[in-house]
């Protein structure tokens, strides 16, 4: 009998090994390369197109400089202190505004997701706010806070918070009921059910909300920096405006490239977080 049992156990373990193939994917380097080359190719095509337009002579070179000129300008700019100060101030505003939006959006999102009355009262208002162009907030912001840091942050927070709140609400709404039941069966109730089941299950949607919130924050911030120029506070937006006033097209384009690069970098970070979240939960195709 004992012998039979031992044999059974090893059959079971043998089946386990057969049933779970350990898949050895391509090497890290190969994966990086396969992700990178289409992007590099696209970048090359954009620059080539730009150069081609310049060569057609559609606009004078001082209005539309060639890519080479802009890249040289960008290189020389990065050796100036004012550039780094501007980038620093802009990034700090982005971080502070986004963080405040994350806190506010999370509180509102959780409250609306949990409290039925609040859902009825402000659920559609939040979606409405999300569709409101952030630039429309500036006149009010300037009235309330004058031309100050606070005016910019006010608009950044209002731009980003609704998306973050909506991400939480949608995530909580779409938690599979089976997982909630499973949570209740293993002894999670009320706050512990939220902590151990609802929020982890909602995480992909919460992350998507944050990603969208960031995009709105960054756009609002750029609009704000063009409109609200605070004395002695150089920022990317202020430098962009300044370049236009001086008709310094290479510098203007160089700052635009910086804005795009920061946006892409943060977006890539969100995409990486999302990928690893999905991979850990087995939500990706092998």
């Amino acid at each position: 009998m004992a012998l039979v049992e031992a044999a059974d156990a090893s059959v079971l373990e043998g089946l386990d090994v057969l049933e779970t193939a350990t898949d050895v994917g391509p090497s890290r380097r190969a994966r990086l390369w396969s992700a990178a080359w289409p992007k590099l190719a696209a970048l090359f095509l954009v620059i080539a197109g730009w150069q081609a337009v310049v060569w057609t002579g559609w606009r004078e070179q001082y209005l539309l400089p060639a890519p080479g000129t802009v890249l040289r300008e960008l290189r020389s700019m990065t050796s100036q202190a004012v550039f780094w100060k501007a980038v620093g101030i802009t990034l700090r505003r982005a971080a502070v505004g986004y963080a405040a939006a994350a806190v506010l959006g999370s509180i509102v999102g959780l409250a609306v997701a949990r409290v039925r009355v609040l859902r009825v009262a402000v659920g559609s208002l939040i979606t409405g706010l999300q569709t409101m162009p952030s630039i429309a907030w500036f006149p009010l912001a300037i009235l309330l806070f004058q031309l100050s840091e606070s005016a910019i942050l006010f608009v950044v927070v209002l731009g980003a918070a609704p998306s973050i709140a909506n991400g939480i609400i949608a995530g909580v709404d779409h938690v599979p009921p089976l997982l909630i039941r499973a949570g209740r069966v293993v002894g999670a109730h009320g706050a512990s059910l939220y902590r151990h089941v609802v929020l982890p299950a909602a995480l992909p949607s919460v992350l998507a909300g944050h990603k969208q919130g960031w995009a709105f924050a960054w756009r609002s911030l750029m609009a704000g920096e063009l409109l609200v120029i605070v004395a002695n506070r150089p920022s990317i937006g202020a430098r962009l405006q300044f370049s236009r006033e001086l008709s310094d097209a290479p510098a203007l384009l160089a700052y635009m490239i910086v804005i795009l690069a920061i946006g892409i970098a943060v977006d890539a970070a969100f995409a990486a977080a999302d990928r690893s979240l999905r991979a850990r939960r087995g939500l990706t195709l092998a």
Partner: protein
């Protein structure tokens, strides 16, 4: 509905439904002096609103004695999952009552593991929620995984496992709850025959070792004959217990044993008869 916990301090595994506090347990009607672990009396459950309600269960009477292994068989959609959900306290009955003496753990038809947790954390979650400190928990989880022959697999994620392994993790998670009563909803329905036979042996061993009470739902009549002390046949529309069969054979049984096949044949014949009642009129 009443849930009678034998330990007053024991955590009720469900958000407390309205409890009829003045309901004394009526004298057990089950044979022998063994107390009933589960008593369903006139248990009914309808889904939906009055006009287009689906009656999933209609006046079900069922007793399960402590330590008994009862299998519920029935065609798809006859209310088997509904019955388990009511016993587990996840749903409230429309009419009738369930008395449960002891704590229940429910294993779902689908493994229902949490995809964001590792295997070990899935099994450890009930312990964590019960307040067990981390060190003790790790040791306990290893023990539980070993008891379902998954020792050393704790760091994997549910999606990396086969269906059979996932069901064993779900079983370990159910065992972690230290419940006296195990409710199982077609736990091996999606598995191949060889894995299923091995898991039958495992389950029988755990049932004896831990003196569990098991209410096991399946649509597989052979499986029921292999495992059960008793088989309750549930019919569809309305879901009702049409017959119960005693399975008197000695254990451990083999699913291919002639007496098990014979029993399965008997139950199947009755099941056919019940289904035929719904045939063309």
């Amino acid at each position: 509905m009443t849930i009678v916990n034998d330990e007053p301090g024991a955590p009720t595994p469900v958000p407390a439904p309205p409890v009829a506090s003045d309901a004394p347990a009526p004298a057990p009607t089950s044979p022998a002096s063994v107390p009933a672990a589960i008593r369903c009396r006139g248990l009914s459950k309808a889904f939906g609103t009055a006009r287009n309600a689906v009656v999933a269960l209609d006046r079900v009477d069922l007793d399960v004695r402590a330590g008994e292994f009862v299998c519920v068989v029935g065609a798809s959609g006859c209310g088997k999952s509904t019955l388990l959900n009511l016993v587990a306290g996840l749903d409230a009955p429309t009419r009738g009552q369930v008395d449960v003496v002891g704590r229940t753990a429910l294993m779902f038809q689908d493994s229902a593991l949490f995809p964001w947790l590792t295997v070990a954390d899935n099994v450890g979650l009930p312990l964590r929620l019960a307040g067990m400190p981390k060190g003790a928990r790790q040791a306990r989880v290893e023990e539980l995984l070993a008891s379902v022959h998954l020792a050393g697999q704790g760091e994997r994620r549910p999606h990396e496992l086969s269906g059979g392994m996932r069901q064993r993790v779900a079983l370990a998670r159910a065992l972690a709850q230290e419940a006296e009563i195990l409710l199982m909803d077609e736990p091996f329905g999606a598995l191949d025959a060889m894995t299923r036979d091995l898991l039958h042996d495992e389950l029988e061993r755990l049932w004896v070792e831990r003196s569990l009470t098991i209410l096991f739902v399946t649509h597989n009549v052979r499986e029921a004959s292999r495992l059960g002390d008793r088989i309750a046949l549930l019919t569809s529309r309305p879901g009702r217990v049409a017959a119960t069969f005693d399975v008197p054979f000695a254990r451990p049984r083999r699913i291919e044993a002639p007496e098990v096949s014979e029993m399965a044949g008997l139950v199947t014949a009755r099941l056919r008869q019940e289904v035929a009642r719904h045939g063309p009129r």
